[in-house]
Symmetry: C2
Subunit: 261 residues, 2 copies
């Protein structure tokens, strides 16, 4: 089955039916995918404020109505409790298990936050002949904790997590311009070059994901990463929080090119 | 006194001392000014969500911590209860009076929302030789209620209010591109041309502000307007809400040119 050519609604219905339970990378080519954080309402104000104050690492694509399982802006009719292939359940900040359907856990005070994902700008980079090394090498993108503080909001505070892509030095300006046009999926890099300047002591051992090859003449370029909000939430140890499992995203009806506007 | 050449912090301290109580148009040339809405915490989540869902009419520049009178992102050390020349006090959605200092009304549950203002993109238009008619004619910008629904959030719902500027037809693309680069101060127009298409039945009688001259060869161009959030809030009749008085804005430390990033 070629999921890359299918429409998002079709793939979401296969996910809902339990026929797709794996990662969504490459599915529904051209359409944006989104990260998920579900929190109870009593934490939702602080989290919404955190995203407002830290839009580069936490670019919000949609926030559900309290208690509603249905989205309406980025994925018409999507059921947030069933339309993601795999979820992670965290209790007091500790991973308690994975599920492919969270209907049985649903609470009337749940609020769902959908957050932009770098898959979108990576396809824009590739279309402009800027190489994306972890895709070439079939790995997960390398991610690092930094010393860049997020602006705190209520109970939520912490440092930014970044993803790194090695870019040939002559293509760095192009990479900045292309991603800078897409602020809803993290936007321009937060740092170019020396890892130590943002508190990364060992570039070759990322905190999350896999290391990739850095060739002669390439510069490490660092973008704000959607792992930041998950990390910040888990550090606050909420009684219950649910996220997508890494790589198992919500496939939206929004085309990547629409994210510029 | 030439306030246009002064630094924002200097002018804010004159406002705080009660030495400036008039409109802020033209002060601190090059620096962004902001609209203010203060609401009690129990309405703040719904309003924050409303701004997230309606970023064109409600582009947030900063949200204070609950109960804090001090800003830290757009106006370092500003006291939101004293650094605006004139405030309006609304009780149950009805104007109850104006004050130049709201210290005596301050509540520990107040949250302040600072919202971008079209003053910023008007200076960018003028710098690119796009005429701004209401400035030429010394009037307030004409504003209209439309039939464009905002996305509701909690108790807040209503239609978008727009501002109108007549633009020579050959300069309309330039006006779109210039303002489109500044999404934090309303961004690109929401409509170009026929007023009836967005529910405006009488272009010559605006709902707010003053009518301006439309010359031969000019097209009415409509932008999302910061009056939208105030209108939506007042229609929900909150027990107490405080805003700036029209034209009496917060002068921020952010340069208009910084609003592009």
């Amino acid at each position: 089955m070629d999921y890359s050519a299918m429409k998002p609604k079709e793939v979401r219905s296969l996910i809902r039916a339990g026929e797709i339970t794996g990662p969504t990378a490459g599915m529904c080519s051209g359409y944006a995918q989104a990260n998920l954080v579900i929190l109870p309402k009593d934490l939702a104000y602080d989290f919404l404020l955190f995203t407002q104050r830290n839009p580069k690492s936490c670019p919000l694509l949609e926030v559900s109505d309290t208690g509603s399982r249905f989205l309406r802006e980025i994925a018409d009719g999507a059921d947030i409790a069933r339309d993601i292939p795999r979820y992670r359940i965290y209790r007091k900040g500790v991973l308690d298990g994975e599920m492919t359907d969270i209907s049985s856990l649903w609470q009337e005070d749940f609020v769902s936050f959908l957050i932009g994902c770098s898959f979108s700008f990576e396809s824009a980079l590739l279309e402009s002949n800027v190489p994306v090394r972890h895709i070439e090498e079939g790995r997960n993108v390398p991610m690092y904790k930094t010393n860049i503080p997020c602006t705190p909001a209520g109970v939520f505070r912490g440092n930014m997590v970044v993803s790194m892509r090695p870019i040939p030095h002559e293509l760095v300006p192009r990479a900045v311009l292309i991603t800078g046009e897409m602020p809803r999926v993290h936007g321009a890099p937060i740092h170019i070059g020396d890892p130590a300047a943002i508190g990364i002591s060992d570039l070759f051992h990322p905190d999350f994901g896999d290391m990739v090859t850095i060739k002669d003449g390439e510069v490490p370029v660092f973008w704000p990463c959607g792992v930041t909000p998950q990390n910040v939430v888990m550090e606050s140890k909420p009684p219950l929080a649910i996220t997508h499992a890494p790589g198992h995203m919500l496939i939206s009806d929004i085309r990547n090119t629409e994210l510029k506007y």
